[in-house]
Symmetry: C2
Subunit: 377 residues, 2 copies
């Protein structure tokens, strides 16, 4: 009962402040929120009482009364056990750098507006996914959804009640979407592989089948490769899940089945490429000598892999920052500043496609890396 923390030592309320300042709670509230213009003396007395008591308003009470929580709910997909591999504590995939960096981008701009991020992971396919997202929504002023967490009907229903921005979806009548320019990015990559390196057989190792980004990357790569007269590989044998294990599994199966590998593999994202390179290395297959491997995203590890990963850079933190800003506009104005935002991507050539090693220091050591971003045949 007598805990360490003095149970009587509960945080002060606005009533305590009012009493200490000899004023009403209304005056305290006004001073604290900068409403009207209180007399200088009133101001000072309030501020002094606040400082002495160490007062800060209770978030719940404030939210209930002001009808604003200053909280944005962020739902991230948690890999089901089936996807992540059996019995393995998949450290590697638990480190989803892409979503983590997006969240960081959101957080930075959220601070400026006085908002915080309420993070919740949801296991997709769970029958109560809808409920889990709804309850997250009721703890926040709006939602940012990573991945495809809800089916279109659920999304349509929920988005009529609460502002929602998606990060891996498509704009709808009631939701906004933020993404990178998949087609431009994949087009640049495809042309580099086919024209600059002359690869004739190129495969696409897919991400989630229900992901519009995945679809766009797939279609663009296919179009470019076939337009150039090359052979394009994709389909059931090439289905990954945006995670390293997914990429590794595809390669393992292919090799076990003694299938011929393509000259180049473009992966749905960097995490997948990481798994692919690892699986190839385990079989003694040289990258890029025998098989070239490329990713998408340019997560920070990409340049530290062996070989360094050629990829398409997305402005990851800006993706998050933009998603927050759009959501914020929906929360404050009732409608989004924009219904769809597409951020530019950029081809980053490193070793894994067959280009020479990158000699420049990593990007974080120089203002503008010189060796990156220009095609080197």
């Amino acid at each position: 009962m007598a805990g360490i923390r003095d149970t009587a030592n509960t945080p002060p309320t606005i009533y305590d402040v009012a009493r200490a300042a000899g004023l009403s709670i209304a005056s305290v509230s006004r001073v604290l929120n900068g409403q009207r213009n209180p007399r200088e003396e009133t101001r000072e007395r309030v501020l002094q009482a606040v400082a002495e008591l160490g007062f800060a308003p209770d978030g719940a009470a404030r939210a209930l009364s002001a009808r604003l929580k200053e909280v944005v709910g962020v739902a991230v997909r948690r890999a089901s056990l089936v996807e992540a591999g059996e019995g393995v504590f998949a450290d590697e995939d638990e480190s989803l750098q892409f979503p983590d960096m997006i969240n960081r981008g959101m957080e930075v701009v959220a601070q400026r507006r006085g908002f915080d991020l309420l993070i919740r992971s949801v296991e997709v396919g769970d029958h109560d996914t809808g409920k889990r997202i709804l309850s997250l929504a009721r703890k926040s002023d709006g939602l940012i959804l990573h991945d495809r967490l809800l089916d279109p009907a659920q999304l349509a229903r929920l988005s009529r009640q609460v502002p929602i921005v998606t990060l891996a979806g498509v704009p709808t009548e009631t939701t906004a979407n933020v993404r990178g320019d998949n087609r431009a990015g994949m087009r640049d990559l495809a042309r580099h592989l086919v024209r600059d390196h002359g690869y004739r057989t190129v495969a696409y190792l897919a991400g989630h089948a229900d992901s519009p980004d995945n679809l766009a990357r797939h279609e663009t790569l296919e179009a470019e490769v076939t337009a150039a007269g090359g052979t394009f590989l994709a389909g059931p044998d090439w289905h990954g899940n945006y995670m390293a294990v997914g990429g590794a599994r595809v390669i393992d199966k292919l090799i076990d089945a003694r299938a011929a590998l393509p000259r180049a593999i473009a992966c749905a994202n960097d995490q997948t490429a990481l798994g692919v390179m690892s699986a190839l290395a385990a079989r003694g297959i040289d990258v890029p000598g025998q098989v070239a491997v490329c990713g998408f995203d340019d997560i920070p590890v990409a340049r530290h892999l062996r070989p360094q990963l050629t990829t398409v850079r997305q402005p990851i933190q800006e993706l998050g920052a933009t998603a927050f800003e759009i959501l914020h506009s929906m929360i404050s104005n009732g409608e989004p500043a924009s219904r769809e935002v597409v951020l530019p991507t950029r081809l980053i050539l490193r070793e894994s496609c067959g280009c020479p090693p990158e000699m420049a220091p990593p990007a974080w050591r120089t203002a503008e890396p010189v060796a990156e971003g220009r095609p080197r045949p």
Copy 2:
């Protein structure tokens, strides 16, 4: 005014449910919270109304009334511009894998208890750091603090009002701390470098000076190296900041000053080692041939670096999970299940210390990696 979202289409309240079910709001609340045992018919009517309306209780109202927000505030340190380097959008350091993985570990166990994480970054040294953390506390039921965010006096004061668990501090009368076993981990690493590899000069590239973890690692390394008759280097020239830029800067300065480099450098954490290896590579210095480099943490990228990074593994996600569980015990019982938890660490030998390449597949592809964790001279 007429936004896309029907402004009238506001989420249903418990009154709407009560009306639809022909019952009082008290009954609705009881059914929803499983209090007492309502009549079966009552239950059903409520549940049906809830489903039809898509009702979920407002988080703020629930929190205010129940005196429980089911939210845990997580404060992470944001690098100041000075630390992160001038004018650089430090992507690399913005991807702080260690804290992100800790948060993920917290999040997973938090879900089981119905809690969510409210994430806020705070710039340390900011004069209003205390206020920022206080206001975060008032939006949550308790706080988990990464890094040293508050000075002891601030911490003591705040922790009397709200449950706090630290992750890089020391236990106090009112707070609990969770950490890895720094001494055991560093001792194993030190002995490996000195005894197995026979290195005679070893430096410690420090993290934040105010970090107890940093201090313990420093002291242990120094004790082991000198006990073995080796030369130990540390001090002002070797001050990093737990980030890649910090490690790189130390190396750059040393080389610019034409200082002799030690045979081995043990870094305060992996992120620092990453910067060190990058700086050495840029100067054409071979790792581990000329200088051995080791880290601490074993973040997921460590095994993908070039050379693969030898390091001390901390159970990163368990660190987060444990911090949450302790905090939860403080929230529900008024006092912590334990005031200090020390989790075991484990030496992971890879290439950067001079050991042969790791041939086993990465940990996430096997249940228990065979080639790791045993000293190989």
